[in-house]
Amino acid sequence: MLELRNVSVQYGSFTAVQNVNIHVHEGEIVVLLGSNGAGKSTVFRTISGLNKLSKGEIVFKGNRIDRYSPDRIVQLGIVQCAEGRKLFSRMTVYENLLMGAYIHRKEKEKIKQSLNHVYELFPILKEKRNDLAGALSGGQQQMLAIGRALMSRPKLLLLDEPSIGLAPLIVEQMFQIIKQINKEGTTILLAEQNAHAALHIAHKGYVFENGTIAVQGTSQELFANDNVHKAYIGT
């Protein structure tokens, strides 16, 4: 479905990502592991068109998309729930969700359905629908960010560190919800530092180190890999 071929990204003279190959099949959950600054977010930003790549190509459903603008990529069905959430903090929860459905703005019925779906996944958002996004707790903001991304009915959802800053109970909940979203038919590419939890729900993973992929394999393989265990799970 999505394929990154020999992708390199450069910030000035600094190479943030080098020669990365990633393959995501339809219906999968794929996780990118790695510490802060290993290049995961850069890959995400590049897929979404926020960064331009310096080498390689990105192919989505057979079309090269690496020269597309971010809004066009959203229209193709690749939606990112970015690190730092990037909410509209002085809009209400409801307005944020509505903006998420921007590309379907002419289809009122569709928006309504998506809205109900998001409210089902995250009942708290329904409860708080008239509160300002900026007034929500960290966990609620994260849910809103995911909810907003779902409003556009993505085919491929990019989730950048959904567990960051969340209390443990909520982290678990979050991963359950991600699993559910995937079951309902959305392919998911996930970036995480919380390797343990992420590998539990993922089909396969890539471990980033210093801007390149150090290890890759199915979840089981990665679990069994000693180096991965040591470096990213920490026991």
Binding site: G12, I164, G165, L166, A167, P168, L169, V171, Q193
Partner: protein
């Protein structure tokens, strides 16, 4: 102890970022602050270094109340800090960046500059000497004349350390010193931090890389939602149930 906070609290509007924290930085040791993102670590640092004014509580440095001192005066007393992202002047050489770090120990004025007095010459030499000294300490002597824009991320981190060290600090606050640095380079920075402590400079750091903290810290404080939930040696922290729950995540229990 060298620096102590008493019931330190910071509110932003309705949000309590730091809640009633009592913490002491022990002289000559490596003190670490850990906690999940958004736990209030950075705010705590900003309170100690003078960038935020506390809502309540006190900060005591060597027995002196510094709660209301501005950042630059705290630096003069011997509290240095680094930032998560380095703010170095990219278009200038490493040496030129670091020289200014010793400015606070000099007293030459505009008058000295215009008339190029003996004092200025002496102090300029002194600053340069200090800069070379700290660059050697952090292992950047070879890179002294390189333009900052052309050195690696890790070298930039070292340069930022050097700049902080040039102020002749008693305590140095390091804000995620190893963020954005490769695993093998992290080890180098670890060694450098240990070296600082051995040299007699008290270290206090925020870090996400747990392995590193567990290896080098003498004392750890854990913050969660702005509150101190634990404090102790790495061993104690590793085995603390509350910490495991709050920090390492639900999956760690399972």
């Amino acid at each position: 102890m060298l620096l102590e906070t008493k019931n330190l609290t910071k509110r932003f509007g309705g949000l309590i970022a730091v809640n009633n924290v009592n913490f002491s930085i022990e002289r000559g040791k490596i003190n670490a602050i850990i906690g999940p993102n958004g736990a209030g670590k950075s705010t705590f640092f900003n309170l100690i270094s003078g960038f935020h004014k506390p809502t309540a509580g006190q900060i005591i440095f060597k027995g002196e109340d510094i709660t209301h001192l501005p950042a630059n005066k705290r630096a003069k007393l011997g509290i240095a800090r680094t930032f998560q992202t380095t703010h170095l002047f990219e278009q200038s050489t490493v040496l030129d960046n670091v020289i200014i770090g010793h400015r606070l120990r000099t007293s030459s004025t505009l008058f000295d500059a215009i008339f190029r007095t003996k004092r200025l010459k002496r102090e300029e030499a002194q600053c340069k000497e200090k800069a070379m000294e700290v660059l050697e300490f952090v292992g950047l002597t070879d890179a002294a004349h390189k333009i900052v824009a052309n050195i690696s991320q890790e070298e930039k981190k070292r340069a930022a350390f050097a700049l902080a060290l040039a102020t002749d600090p008693e305590v140095i606050l390091l804000d995620e010193p190893a963020a954005g640095v490769n695993p093998d380079e992290t080890e180098g920075l670890e060694e450098l931090i240990v070296k600082m402590a051995e040299y007699g400079i008290t270290v206090c750091l925020i870090e996400h890389k747990m392995q590193m903290i567990m290896k080098i810290a003498h004392k750890i404080m854990v913050l969660n939602y702005g509150e101190k939930i634990a404090e102790g040696t790495p061993e104690e922290i590793k085995n603390n149930e509350i910490v495991i729950q709050a920090y390492l995540g639900g999956s760690a229990i399972a």
